[in-house]
C-alpha cells in the first residue's frame, strides 16, 4: 500500500516535472521565435519598377492629354482646390499640381505646388511655389512590381509620420486600453463575453491590437482553443520584449487593408495611397477615420463598393474620437460632413506593359536573383516612357493589323541616348505571351543593306557613287547548289550606284557588292554596330536571311544613326536603389566607338535617300523636312516578314509584321510596316535628323548616271559625299540631251 502510494506520488511528480520542463522549453522556443521574427526583417517587400521621371522644362513638347493621363495613372486626383499632395487643377492651358514628395536615386523632391502652362502641346512656363523655374520633375509612374509569392504589397511608414488622429482612431475603435494592458485585456474579454451572452451570438471581439498583430504575424486565422491559447502567450511575450510604439508601428504596416486584383494591400501607408491617392501624413481627420473604420472588415467596409456602409462606420469612429476627447466638436462636425473622398479606382490590366516588363526582368536577371527582387523592396528606375508606349500601342493597332486578324506585330522605340522607351511584343500589347520584340528572330530582308553599304564604304574601296552591276548573279553555295537572287520587280537595272542600289533595294547589286567586299566584312560591320552574338557567314545573309529580333535591329540602327560613337545595347534600367535609397546599380549612358564617321555619314545620306526618293518616299514626303527621317524597308522571302527601321533626330523605331506560322503577309516593308512606323513617328518624333558633315567628308558634283565628276551646271549633276579625301574619277559629258524638255517628259513617263 505504502509502496503504491510512493509510486503514485513519484509518477505525479514526474508528470509535473515533464509538463513544467516541456512548458519551459515551449516558452523558450516561442520566445525565441517571437524575437527572431520581430527583431529582424519583418516583411518581404516587393520591388517596384518606375517609368522615367517626367522631366518638364520650358519648350518641351508635351501633349496635355498624355500629361493628364500620366497624372491620373500616378494617382493624382482632379480637384477644384488644392488642399493636399496628390491633387491637380486643370484650368485649360494652365495646370496646377500639388506634387508629392518623392525620393529619386539622386535627390529627393519635396511636396510643392506647381504651375505648368501648356500651349499647343508645348510647355510655356513652369512655376514652383509661384517662382519661375527652368525645369522640374514629377514623381515617376509605377509600371509594375515584382511581388513576393503571397502577392503582399505594402509601403512602410514610421510611427512619427502617421498623423496622431489616425492612431487615435485606430486605438479608439480597435483597442481602447492599448496603452494599459500587457498584451491581453481581461476587462475587454469580460465585456465581450457579457455582450455576446446577452446577444446570444458573437457580436464583439476581445482581441487587443497586440493579439491581432500576433494572429496576422505568427498564426493562422483558424478558430480553435489551441490557436487562441498560443495567441495569448505570444501577445504576453511580445509585450514583454517590445514597447507599445514598436508594436503599434508594426501593426500599422502589417494589417490587411484591401485587395487590388491579385495584389494584397497591407498597411496604412499603401492603403492611404490606394484609397485616397495621398501619403498617410496628408490624411484629413475624416480620411484617417475611414481607414480606421476599414480595418475591421476591408471587404465589408470597402469604401468604393459600399460607400454608405463605410461612411456610417467612419462616423461611428469619429464619434468615438470625440467621446474620448481626441477631436473637438467642431472637428467632428466638419469631418462628418466631409464626403468619403475616395479616389476613382482604375482596374489595371493584368499586366500593364508586359513586353517592357519582360525585357526589364531579363536585364535585372543579369545582376539579381528573383527571390531577392521579390523580397528586398528595391526601386527600379527604368527608361520606359509611357507617352511613347501609348503612342506605339495606338499606332500598331491601326491598319494593316485591323484588317488581318492573325497578323502579329512587334515594335521597339529608342531614344537617341540608347534608352528603350517603348516595347510592343504582340498585336495585343496588354496581354502576356510570346514577346516578339525580344524573342522573335525573323529574317530581316533588306534591313541588312545599309550595313552592307557601310561595310563597303568602310573598306575604302567604294564610294556612294561607285557603280556596281545589277545584272543577274548566280552564287555557288557551300553545299554545291546554285542560288540566284531576284529583284523585287523581277528586272535588272544595269550599272547602278551604291546609292541607287540602296534606295531602290536592288538585290543583284547588293549581293554582288557584299560578295565583293566579303561576307566576313559585313558580319564584322554588324559586330561594330553593336551585335555581340555569332552570326553565320553565308551569302544568303546579304539578302537578309539573317534572323534578328526587333530589339537587335534597333540596336544596329541606333549605331547607324550615330556619328561613330553610339550607345550600345539599349538600356531599360537607369538605376536600382534599395529600401534605404542606396544605389545598387547605376547604368550610366556610355558610348562605344562604331564605324568611322565618314562611312556612317555616307550611309545615312543614302538612308535619307530612301525616304526622299526610294522605297520610303511617301512617308518621307509626308513627314517633310520638319521631321526629316532616314530609314530602310525590309521584306523577307515570300513576304513572310514586313519590316521598317528608321530614325529622326530624336527617336528611332523598328516595326515588324508577320505571322507566327510564317505564312505570307502579302505585305512589303513599304505597304506593311512603314505605315505603322509613319503613324508612330508622327506621334512621338519632334526633331528632324541632323546631318552634320564630318571633316573627313567632302561633297563633290558627280554625274548621277556614271558616277564621274561633273560640274554643278551640267545635266544630271548632283552632290555626293566622298570619304577619305577621294575625289570622283573621270569626267562625264556636261550636255547629254539637246532637248531637255523632251528628255524631262521621257523621264517622267518612263
Amino acid at each position: 500500500m505504502f509502496r503504491r502510494k510512493v509510486n503514485f506520488k513519484n509518477t505525479l511528480l514526474l508528470i509535473a516535472c515533464l509538463v513544467t520542463v516541456s512548458s519551459v522549453v515551449g516558452l523558450v522556443y516561442l520566445d525565441y521565435n517571437i524575437r527572431q521574427t520581430f527583431s529582424g526583417k519583418k516583411w518581404r517587400l516587393p520591388s517596384h519598377a518606375y517609368a522615367r521621371p517626367l522631366e518638364l522644362f520650358e519648350g518641351k513638347h508635351l501633349s496635355k492629354r498624355n500629361f493628364l493621363r500620366e497624372l491620373a495613372e500616378t494617382s493624382y486626383k482632379q480637384v477644384k482646390e488644392l488642399t493636399a499632395p496628390g491633387q491637380y487643377i486643370d484650368n485649360g492651358s494652365q495646370i496646377k499640381i500639388y506634387r508629392r514628395a518623392f525620393r529619386f536615386w539622386d535627390e529627393a523632391t519635396v511636396e510643392a505646388t506647381l504651375e505648368i502652362h501648356i500651349e499647343r502641346d508645348k510647355v510655356k512656363l513652369l512655376k514652383v511655389e509661384g517662382e519661375r523655374v527652368p525645369l522640374l520633375r514629377l514623381e515617376p509612374m509605377l509600371i509594375g512590381g515584382i511581388y513576393p509569392h503571397n502577392f503582399e504589397d505594402r509601403k512602410l511608414v514610421r510611427l512619427q509620420d502617421v498623423p496622431g488622429v489616425l492612431t487615435d482612431a485606430l486605438i479608439a475603435v480597435e483597442d481602447q486600453s492599448f496603452y494599459q494592458h500587457n498584451g491581453i485585456s481581461l476587462r475587454g474579454i469580460a465585456r465581450a463575453m457579457y455582450a455576446n451572452v446577452k446577444a446570444g451570438k458573437v457580436v464583439q471581439g476581445a482581441s487587443t491590437l497586440t493579439q491581432q498583430l500576433v494572429k496576422n504575424f505568427y498564426l493562422s486565422s483558424e478558430r480553435s482553443l489551441k490557436r487562441k491559447l498560443l495567441e495569448v502567450i505570444y501577445s504576453l511575450l511580445l509585450e514583454l520584449h517590445y514597447g507599445k510604439d514598436e508594436i503599434l508601428e508594426t501593426y500599422l504596416n502589417e494589417v490587411y487593408m484591401a485587395q487590388d486584383g491579385p495584389r494584397a494591400i497591407h498597411g496604412f501607408g499603401l492603403a492611404s495611397e490606394f484609397y485616397f491617392g495621398k501619403s498617410v501624413s496628408s490624411l484629413s481627420i475624416g480620411e484617417a477615420a475611414s481607414l480606421a473604420a476599414i480595418v475591421n472588415g476591408p471587404s465589408h467596409f470597402n469604401p468604393r463598393r459600399y460607400p454608405d456602409r463605410c461612411r456610417r462606420r467612419r462616423d461611428k469612429v469619429l464619434s468615438m474620437l470625440k467621446a474620448s476627447g481626441k477631436i473637438s466638436e467642431l472637428e467632428f462636425l466638419a469631418a462628418t460632413r466631409e464626403p468619403l473622398g475616395v479616389s476613382k479606382y482604375k482596374r489595371k490590366r493584368k499586366a500593364s506593359y508586359p513586353a517592357f516588363m519582360d525585357l526589364l526582368k531579363r536585364h535585372l536577371a543579369r545582376d539579381y536573383d528573383n527571390e531577392t527582387l521579390r523580397g528586398e523592396g528595391y526601386r527600379i528606375f527604368t527608361t520606359f516612357d509611357p507617352h511613347i508606349q501609348w503612342a506605339t500601342e495606338k499606332s500598331v493597332a491601326g491598319t494593316p493589323l485591323s484588317n488581318k486578324p492573325k497578323l502579329e506585330a512587334a515594335a521597339v522605340v529608342m531614344g537617341m541616348s540608347g534608352d528603350i522607351e517603348a516595347v510592343v511584343g504582340s498585336r495585343s500589347p496588354g496581354q502576356l505571351g510570346f514577346n516578339r520584340a525580344l524573342d522573335s528572330r525573323r529574317p530581316i530582308g533588306s534591313l541588312i543593306k545599309p550595313v552592307i553599304i557601310a561595310a563597303a564604304l568602310e573598306s575604302g574601296r567604294y564610294q556612294l557613287s561607285s557603280q556596281v552591276s545589277d545584272e543577274t548573279i548566280e552564287v555557288s553555295m557551300e553545299n554545291g547548289t546554285k542560288w540566284i537572287p531576284k529583284n523585287y520587280d523581277g528586272q535588272s537595272h544595269g550599272d547602278v550606284s551604291l546609292y541607287d542600289a540602296l534606295i531602290h533595294s536592288y538585290n543583284h547589286a547588293m549581293v554582288r557588292l557584299g560578295l565583293d567586299i566579303g561576307v566576313e566584312q559585313v558580319v564584322h560591320a554588324l559586330h561594330k554596330l553593336g551585335i555581340k552574338r555569332d552570326i553565320p557567314k553565308n551569302p544568303a545573309m546579304l539578302l537578309g536571311s539573317l534572323g534578328m529580333s526587333p530589339l537587335e535591329v534597333a540596336t544596329v540602327y541606333q549605331a547607324l544613326a550615330s556619328q561613330s560613337y553610339f550607345h550600345p545595347g539599349g538600356r531599360s534600367i537607369r538605376y536600382v536603389t534599395n529600401s534605404r535609397h542606396e544605389i545598387l546599380t547605376a547604368n550610366p549612358v556610355v558610348l562605344e566607338k562604331g564605324l568611322s564617321e565618314s562611312s556612317l555619314h555616307a550611309t545615312q545620306f543614302s538612308m535619307l535617300g530612301v525616304m526622299y526618293e526610294g522605297t520610303g518616299r511617301w512617308a518621307g514626303n509626308l513627314l517633310g523636312d520638319q521631321l526629316r527621317a532616314a530609314g530602310k524597308t525590309g521584306t523577307s522571302n515570300g513576304m513572310r516578314d514586313s519590316w521598317f527601321a528608321g530614325f529622326t533626330g530624336d527617336k528611332l523605331a523598328v516595326v515588324w509584321l508577320g505571322y507566327d506560322s510564317y505564312k505570307s503577309t502579302r505585305l512589303s516593308g513599304t505597304s506593311g510596316a512603314l505605315p505603322i512606323w509613319f503613324r508612330l513617328m508622327k506621334r512621338v518624333a519632334r526633331e528632324p535628323f541632323g546631318f552634320p558633315k564630318p571633316p573627313s567628308i567632302e561633297y563633290h558634283w558627280i554625274d548621277e548616271e556614271t558616277g564621274k565628276a561633273t560640274f554643278s551646271f551640267c545635266q544630271g549633276a548632283r552632290k555626293f559625299p566622298f570619304t577619305n579625301q577621294v575625289e570622283p574619277s573621270g569626267v562625264a559629258p556636261c550636255i547629254k540631251s539637246i532637248d531637255p524638255v523632251l528628255d524631262w517628259f521621257r523621264r517622267q513617263f518612263n
Binding site: 522644362f57 541616348s417 526618293e613 552634320p692 554643278s712 524638255v741
Partner: protein
C-alpha cells in the same frame, strides 16, 4: 505656241516640286536628300533647363559628388543630346571619375557637335582627350591631341 505651253507646264512643275531644301541642279530627282551644304552647323543655342543642369553638375563636381554630377549631365543629355556642351561636361565628369576611355569617347562626340567656329569648346575637348591619353600612356596620341587643341 506648242513650245510655250510645254514650257509653262515644265516651269509650273518645277515650281510646285521645289522643296525648301532643294538639291542643287539635279535633273531627275526633285525629292533628293539634303546634302551638307544647307545644313551648316550654327552655334548651338543652349536650353535654359540644360544650362541649369550643367550648373548643378559643375557644382557637384567641385564638391566631389561625381555620381550626382553624372546624373545631372545625363538629365541634360536626355533633354538635348545634340548640345556639344553636354557631351563635353560628361567627358569632364568621366575624366574626374577616372574613366579615361569614356572621357575620350564623350569628348570625341562633342567634337562632332561643336561648330568649327566654337574654338573654345573644341580646344577643351581636345584637352580632355590629351589628358585621357596621357593617363593611358598613349603619348603619341596625346601629342596629336595636344597639337589639335591649339588654335
Amino acid at each position: 505656241m506648242k513650245l510655250a505651253i510645254i514650257l509653262s507646264i515644265f516651269l509650273a512643275h518645277a515650281c510646285t516640286t521645289t522643296r525648301k531644301d532643294p538639291m542643287p541642279q539635279t535633273s531627275r530627282r526633285h525629292n533628293a536628300p539634303p546634302e551638307q551644304g544647307h545644313l551648316k552647323k550654327k552655334t548651338h543655342r543652349q536650353k535654359d533647363a540644360v544650362r541649369a543642369l550643367l550648373d548643378m553638375a559643375q557644382t557637384s563636381t567641385r564638391q566631389g559628388l561625381y555620381r550626382e554630377a553624372s546624373s545631372y549631365v545625363e538629365r541634360a543629355y536626355r533633354i538635348d543630346h545634340r548640345d556639344p556642351a553636354v557631351s563635353l561636361e560628361m567627358a569632364k565628369v568621366m575624366w574626374v571619375r577616372g574613366d579615361d576611355i569614356q572621357a575620350e569617347h564623350w569628348a570625341q562626340k562633342s567634337l562632332g557637335l561643336w561648330s568649327q567656329f566654337d574654338f573654345e569648346g573644341r580646344r577643351e575637348a581636345w584637352s580632355i582627350i590629351y589628358q585621357s591619353r596621357i593617363r593611358r600612356g598613349d603619348y603619341q596620341g596625346a601629342n596629336e591631341a595636344l597639337r589639335r587643341s591649339r588654335p
